[in-house]
């Protein structure tokens, strides 16, 4: 095992230990609640990144999978009386089924047309669900009284680990290499025997499954909302923005993006009530304008620059020594 891998492994274990211990260290529900939102968005942005970042297919209908997972889970868990985990799996299954159904026609579209097509899918489901389920879904009083944030928190920890882990395994596999080949140059990939359609469909299915699972966890977490809310485009665009802020096509990018997006936005909202969106919007524009590859690319640039500077200094020192 190389030194870099050991450091990565240690870091992962440290982060997991920190996440596991957080509720014991922090007693304030507001912090745990913010952590839940960060983990939710880590899962959602990472699931979007599998198709959008690694396969290069800009999916603007991600909310459809999130929403379908959430709607199915909530109906089965709250209305039909199923236990949680079968409901979650059914929700993820429903999202996956939708992905399989729309995959074939959707991937006949390319580039911006695929983006518009998926956006339309999300909007169609948004309106349809609004018409079909106009009533608010709220947790019954008995459940509210016994509502515990901790199980929800750990569910989201597990979900974030599962999503990031899946993305990691996938992109380090032969399938992942195929997905990235499709992203870089579809025709070239096809000419080398990589089936673009198969890889895109697989990415869509995995992405939808994880988004559906995230939607299901959200349905378990949230106390009351209109079912249509789950299909709001905000779930797509927030996930997309986080992936872009952090860095698309990387494992760490959506994690950093979600952390920045949720924490910065929340802190600004708490401190600059009247102008928080203006300030956050400005920050976002600055990031997109000046760091087009997101924070991950910026960090890589800094590291390269530091290495270059240190290298140059070393060379100067060495030549001085030689001269003296």
């Amino acid at each position: 095992m190389t030194g870099k891998r050991i450091i990565t492994l240690v870091l992962i274990i440290a982060v997991l230990a920190l996440l596991a211990a957080l509720p014991a260290v922090v007693s304030r529900d507001s912090i745990i609640n913010m952590a839940v939102l960060v983990l939710l968005y880590v899962a959602l942005a990472s699931s979007w990144n599998i198709l959008g970042g690694y396969t290069g297919q800009t999916n603007l209908g991600h909310a459809a999978f999130f929403g379908l997972g959430g709607l199915t889970t909530r109906l089965l868990w709250l209305s039909a009386g199923w236990s949680l985990f079968p409901s979650l799996l059914a929700g993820a299954g429903a999202a996956t089924t939708l992905a399989l159904i729309i995959g074939t026609p959707a991937f006949k579209l390319k580039g911006v047309y695929f983006a518009i097509g998926t956006l339309a899918l999300g909007q169609v489901l948004n309106v349809t669900v609004g018409d079909m389920f106009p009533m608010i879904t709220s947790l019954p009083v008995q459940q509210l009284v016994s509502y515990q944030l901790l199980p929800r928190y750990y569910l989201f920890v597990g979900l974030a680990v599962l999503t990031v882990g899946t993305a990691y395994v996938l992109v380090n596999s032969r399938l992942g290499l195929g997905m990235m080949a499709v992203r870089e140059e579809e025709e070239a990939a096809e000419s080398l025997g990589v089936s673009a359609f198969r890889h895109k469909l697989l990415a869509l299915v995995v992405s939808a499954f994880l988004a559906g699972l995230t939607g299901g966890a959200f349905a378990f977490y949230h106390v009351g909302y209109y079912p249509q809310f789950l299909f709001s485009p905000v779930w797509t665009f927030d996930a997309l923005m986080m992936a872009y802020i952090g860095g698309t096509g990387t494992i760490i990018g959506p994690i950093i993006g979600a952390l920045f997006f949720v924490v910065a936005k929340e802190l600004l909202a708490l401190r600059l009530v009247e102008i928080h969106l203006t300030v956050f919007g400005t920050l976002f524009i600055l990031v997109v304008l000046f760091l087009p590859g997101g924070f991950v690319q910026a960090w890589a640039s800094i590291r390269r620059a530091l290495v270059r500077q240190l290298g140059a200094r070393g060379v100067r020192l060495a030549s001085r020594r030689q001269a003296s």
Binding site: R28, N33, V127, S138, V223, G224, F229, R271, V273, L283
Partner: protein, 425 residues
């Protein structure tokens, strides 16, 4: 490359500066008034007097309900300022008058963010009471959190009755609900001479929970009051074409229109009614015409439309004139429709805290439930489900102005009836 790196450092610097140096985490602290000792001494050892009574609100200051939140927020702020100007609230437990401190957060009209903000108010600010925002879905999320945390919650700007039927104990709303609106419209129409009553009713029901609830109640109540529903049409929110519904109502000879559209739908609906030449003698269109842009956009076409807004600045209850004067000084117009009910919420909490004599949330909840007081929205008591027994005024657009037309003892103008054809307005 260097410029990118410097921009990154600037970003980090700006962020850290913003997050650390923006002052206290309380977003909108009310005027601080030092706690003043009440004159009567006591022998019982008192707990240390808190510097302020913390109350908090998460409300939509931006997003789709931003316009509603903008009307609610000043109501809370004026009420807190007025109470603090009088020295605060006397709390027996501390034998002292304590000022209120109001923290307001923007939830961006997003129920998830609203939940997060209420959790922050609960665990960080330790609020003893929540003030609600606006919009049924926002109240559905936030009132559930209030129930979970056991914090008394006062919400206005929603007429959905169903929220109150879930067994919540901490939810209170001094605001008219669907059953009031479904009853009062027929009561008002029955105040007209018998031969002139527009008894044939068309109901345009929006396919939302409130639409289903209110439309159903209007339909159910019609026969009881001697009215006949000749057209009951449903439509999805954000519809653009209402002509089919309008023509059906016109063909059925409907004289009264009852509807609850959102602003864009309501504008389109009335424009198409004018184009198709269907002018009901009486139109009650709740919600869309509440927006000040109604008169500006529709001109005389928008006249004669009536609304149940929950409150009007022409009401003659104590404190309304002062509220209007303060609002006029700050915004150049009398108080907005939701400002009065918001003000009343703070009055109710202040009264309940004084009666409870403690800042214990459960005791405060019981005191709110037992409310029987005069506010800027008139006398308020609460039913067991948290709905308020409050006045449900009817207002009407008259020559581009909103006039209070019912009840008669509060009216600023007479109800204009019947409405003439659109081209004769």
């Amino acid at each position: 490359m260097r410029s990118r790196i410097s921009v990154l450092f600037v970003l980090v610097f700006v962020m850290s500066g913003l997050l650390t140096a923006c002052g206290s985490p309380t977003a909108a602290p009310a005027t601080q008034v030092p706690a003043t000792q009440a004159p009567e001494p006591t022998d019982v050892p008192k707990p240390p007097t808190p510097a302020a009574i913390e109350i908090g609100a998460s409300m939509p200051l931006t997003g789709k309900y931003g316009a509603l939140g903008a009307m609610v927020k000043p109501g809370y702020e004026y009420a807190v300022a007025d109470i603090n100007a009088a020295g605060g609230i006397y709390v027996k437990e501390y034998d002292a008058k304590i000022p209120l401190r109001l923290t307001i957060y923007d939830d961006e009209s997003d129920p998830t963010k609203a939940v997060s903000k209420l959790e922050t108010l609960y665990s960080d600010q330790k609020v003893v009471a929540y003030l609600g925002g606006a919009g049924s879905d926002m109240h559905a999320a936030t009132s559930a959190i209030a129930e979970k945390n056991g914090v008394p919650y006062c919400g206005v700007a929603f007429a959905l009755w169903q929220i109150h039927q879930q067994g919540y104990r901490y939810l209170f709303s001094p605001f008219p609900k669907s059953p009031d609106q479904a009853r009062d419209v027929y009561e008002i129409l029955n105040g007209l001479p018998e031969g002139e009553r527009p008894t044939k009713v068309a109901i345009f029901q929006e396919k939302t929970d409130w639409g289903i609830e209110l439309g159903g109640l209007w339909k159910d109540n019609a026969a009881t009051y001697g009215y006949e529903v000749v057209a009951y049409e449903e439509y999805a929110p954000r519809s653009e074409d209402f002509s089919g519904m309008i023509l059906k109502a016109q063909a059925a000879g409907a004289q009264t229109l009852l509807a609850m559209p959102s602003p864009p739908d309501g504008l389109a609906m009335v424009k198409q009614m004018a184009e198709l030449g269907w002018a009901p003698e009486f139109s009650l269109i709740i919600r869309a015409p509440e927006n000040v842009t109604w008169g500006e956009t529709l001109g005389t076409t928008g006249d004669y439309i009536t609304i149940f807004p929950g409150w009007h600045n022409g009401e003659k209850f104590p404190g309304v004139a002062e509220l209007n004067a303060a609002y006029q000084a700050q915004f150049g117009r009398p108080a907005d429709l939701l400002t009065g009910p918001a003000y009343a919420c703070v009055q109710i909490f202040a009264d309940a805290i004084a009666r409870a004599g403690t800042l214990d949330r459960a005791a405060l909840r019981d005191a709110v439930a037992a409310t029987d007081m005069m506010t800027v929205v008139g006398p308020v008591t609460f039913n067991a489900d948290g709905t308020g027994n409050v006045l449900n005024p009817l207002i009407q657009w008259q020559s581009g102005k909103l006039e209070l037309v019912w009840p008669p003892e509060q009216a600023t103008a007479d109800l204009l009836f019947p409405a003439p054809a659109f081209d004769k307005r």
